[in-house]
């Protein structure tokens, strides 16, 4: 890598004129972005495949079967289809916002991947405020969703956008509170510190540290479902009510961005859940046996499977009930989790 960049600098007059460190930095960023982009695309692609396959089997069907063995390449076919589709912008839409919106949503979920601790060494940047960074960056997505809903100039999209705003803002509170309970233990916001605090086997995982944190994990997970608009909290999209919510008017490429962001976000929620409560890349036993990445991915994908499983089981809530769940159920319980954990530590 270094030789490659040095070679580039040697052969390029412009690169010689800028400081060497800057070139290294730019190269690093470009490489990371490229790698992450591939990872993310693969994730969302395989995520959709898993979703359809699991849904199919749960419904006594088979799901996609025709592209590749057992339809494994279906997501590629879908992707190619979406990318080749005509790019339609409604005549009365706010063109600029309409074009920017999917990019904002996508980059928000993309940026969250920076602090995901895949293993003890594999992390793009172990920010010392990692968890705070996640919380703040994931809120950016809602801006994109509102932009999309507003710019579409469609009443259904607007409804979807308003629902999304209300929902994501409300559910950030229980998420943040249940995260605080974990931070009480670690005293650090860094993702790697949180994971390392859980090293040493199953009983060291935060979910099993005390009964309150056990509850806290479920609170986090439920609020996380709402955060990424999954059933039973998929009101912003609500196919049967709002047609397709904020992305009603989107098609082709731009729709693909929304779609990918959704699955990318799904994995982020699972990944953070794994990091905070399920020991991250730590194994079940004190001796890891398998590499950290495998543990991390295994746990993350299991949570993702539960998300899919829930989606094909549950009906959808109504807006006021959604708010009820957030403010009257999850919020009091997450306070309970914080106080309970604090008391547990004290005693």
């Amino acid at each position: 890598m270094k030789e490659f960049i040095d070679g580039l600098i040697a052969s390029n007059a412009f690169l010689q004129s800028v400081p060497v460190d800057l070139v290294y930095l730019a190269a690093m960023v470009t490489a990371t972005v490229a790698v992450l982009l591939v990872v993310l695309t693969l994730f969302s692609g395989l995520g959709t495949y898993a979703e359809r396959k699991v849904a199919g089997h749960m419904q006594d069907r088979l799901g996609p079967m025709r592209v590749g063995p057992h339809g494994i390449l279906q997501f590629l076919a879908d992707g190619i289809k979406l990318f080749l589709k005509e790019d339609i912008i409604p005549a009365l839409a706010d063109r600029k916002l309409f074009i920017i919106a999917p990019v904002v949503v996508f980059s928000a979920s993309f940026a969250s991947y920076v602090v995901v601790p895949w293993s003890d060494t594999l992390i793009v940047s172990d920010l010392n405020i990692g968890i705070l960074y996640i919380l703040s960056i994931s809120s950016v997505a809602v801006i994109g969703i509102i932009m999309g809903g507003w710019a579409s100039n469609n009443k259904w999209s607007l409804y979807g956008a308003m629902r999304a705003a209300a929902q994501i803002v409300s559910y950030e509170v229980p998420i943040a509170l249940s995260i605080i309970a974990v931070i009480l233990y670690t005293g650090s916001l860094s993702m790697q510190d949180i994971v390392e605090a859980q090293a040493g086997g199953l009983h060291k995982w935060f979910i099993f540290r005390n009964p309150f944190l056990f509850l806290g994990f479920f609170l986090y997970f439920i609020a996380g479902l709402a955060e990424v608009n999954r059933v039973p909290f998929d009101l912003p999209e609500a196919e049967s009510e709002l047609v397709s919510g904020y992305n009603t008017e989107y098609s082709g490429m731009r729709f693909a961005f929304f779609f990918m962001a959704e699955y990318a976000n799904m994995f982020i929620v699972c990944a953070i859940g794994t990091t905070l409560f399920l020991g991250g890349w730590n194994g079940i036993l004190p001796d890891p046996i398998l590499p950290g990445v495998v543990w991390f991915m295994g746990k993350g994908l299991f949570l993702m499977f539960i998300m899919i499983w829930l989606r094909w089981t549950l009906p959808r809530l109504r807006v006021d009930q959604l708010m009820y769940v957030s403010w009257k159920v999850l919020l009091p319980l997450s306070f309970l989790v914080i106080f309970g954990s604090a008391l547990w530590i004290l005693l």
């Binding site: 089997h57 006594d60 829930l310 549950l314």
Partner: protein, 170 residues
């Protein structure tokens, strides 16, 4: 208390539902991989209308009963000097006194009720199991079965052809 009971109820019913769906994850699929595998159609299946024109006696029973008038038939008497024509063995060697010069079924109008096939005396009009006949143009759904041409028309055409060179030269 009620509050806690409701939360408990919600969690419990979610778990019950999840049990149902996970159970189905390992149940064999009931669907069929359609274009590769197909269901067998039952004997009484009402698919595409097909007329075996060799057995058709031009009685118009089918076009009369049709509730949507999708069958158009034109038939004319055969001349006395013509050789008599009969239907096939299976339908009983009935004399075909009429020459069917037009037998069109517009499948885009057909409502697949099967009245016509019940009326057909020679059972030449049947509904065959074929159900895959989607087309890009509605006009392609008009099926013409008649093969015989009216003798006058044939002779007219012959005379036209014969007349043409004369006309052009003259």
């Amino acid at each position: 208390m009620n509050y806690l009971r409701e939360i408990g109820q919600a969690v419990w019913t979610v778990l019950v539902g999840m049990k149902v769906t996970i159970g189905h994850l390992f149940v064999p699929a009931v669907t069929l991989q359609y274009p590769d595998v197909k269901w067998t159609t039952p004997e009484r299946w009402r698919g595409r209308l097909h007329n075996n024109i060799d057995d058709c006696i031009g009685c118009q029973a089918c076009s009369r009963i049709c509730p949507v008038s999708c069958i158009t038939i034109k038939a004319e008497k055969r001349g006395k000097d013509e050789e008599p024509v009969f239907t096939s063995e299976e339908s009983g060697k009935k004399p075909r006194k009429l020459r069917v010069t037009q037998y069109d079924i517009d499948l885009s109008l057909c409502c697949f009720c099967g009245f016509c096939t019940e009326q057909c005396p020679t059972e030449c009009l049947r509904m065959i199991p074929d159900y895959e006949f989607s087309v890009y143009d509605k006009k392609e759904l008009v099926c013409s079965y008649a093969v015989e041409k009216s003798p006058e028309k044939i002779s007219e055409k012959i005379s036209e052809k014969e007349g043409e060179p004369e006309g052009s030269s003259g």
